[in-house]
């Protein structure tokens, strides 16, 4: 009985991670500009692959593997915002503009002054 519950937890995490990753990819395709695409890639993408990694760690059933899986998850959560931040900063400095529907861009106004 325990094994079935455990397997169900792993299965839900795997499929949940897969769905998040898929939606992140859909977001990367559908969203209008670089900055909004970054939202999808850095949040849903990280959570998706992190969930799957933790599911793999749980399925192994060893403390060592689970600890490593969590360390990996923590690492991704730590690096994803840094990477997104750097790409966004570089894109804005290089002069890539926001999409047509954008309401405000304080950064451009500030650096203009």
């Amino acid at each position: 009985m325990m094994a079935v519950v455990f397997a169900l937890v792993v299965a839900v995490m795997l499929i949940g991670g897969g769905i998040f990753t898929l939606l992140a990819a859909v977001g990367v395709v559908r969203l209008p500009d670089v900055y909004t695409r970054m939202h999808a890639a850095s949040k849903a993408g990280t959570v998706g692959s992190g969930l799957m990694l933790v599911a793999a760690g749980l399925h192994a059933g060893e403390f060592a593997v689970l600890a490593r899986a969590f360390a990996g998850f923590f690492f991704f959560v730590l690096t994803a915002p840094v990477a997104a931040h750097l790409v966004a900063k570089a894109a804005h400095h290089a002069g890539y503009r926001l999409s047509r529907g954008a309401t405000c861009d304080d950064m451009r106004d500030h650096t203009k002054k």
Binding site: I19, V26, V28, R37, A41, R68, A90, A94, Y96, S99
Partner: protein, 129 residues
């Protein structure tokens, strides 16, 4: 059917579903890498591809039972992060490449109203900001 084999069947089924979802995600992201339209778009999509590859590795770790794949996934995450940082530094130092100067290119194809609206702007405008 004992509980053990039932549990195994559940996990294997979830693995197949996850692999299918990841495959679709993979091809969608590859489409974004190819179609661009700008360099940062491709960088973001490549970063996303690394995340998808990590997901693949996690599923393969479960399917084959080799826990070493988790370490590989962590290393891949590290390498992917460094690659993204390096590419971002490249954009930062090199500025916007010639291909991306078109003012409509950054707005994405869905919001662009076609080439008729294109105004003749000095190409340095993008850099001036």
């Amino acid at each position: 059917m004992t509980a053990e084999t039932f549990a195994q069947a559940i996990v294997l089924f979830a693995c197949s579903v996850a692999l299918f979802l990841m495959c679709v995600a993979f091809f969608l992201t590859v489409w974004r890498v190819i179609s661009g339209p700008t360099l940062p778009d491709r960088i973001v999509a490549l970063d996303m591809l690394v995340a998808i590859a990590i997901g693949f590795l996690a599923v393969i770790a479960i399917k084959t039972g080799f826990n070493l794949y988790i370490d590989i996934a962590i290393s891949l995450g590290l390498v992917g992060f460094l690659a993204t940082v390096a590419l971002a530094r490249f954009v930062l130092t090199q500025g916007m490449p010639e291909d991306d100067r078109d003012p409509l290119a950054t707005t994405g194809a869905r919001h662009g109203k076609g080439p008729t609206q294109r105004k003749q702007r000095p190409t340095r405008r993008g850099r001036a900001r």
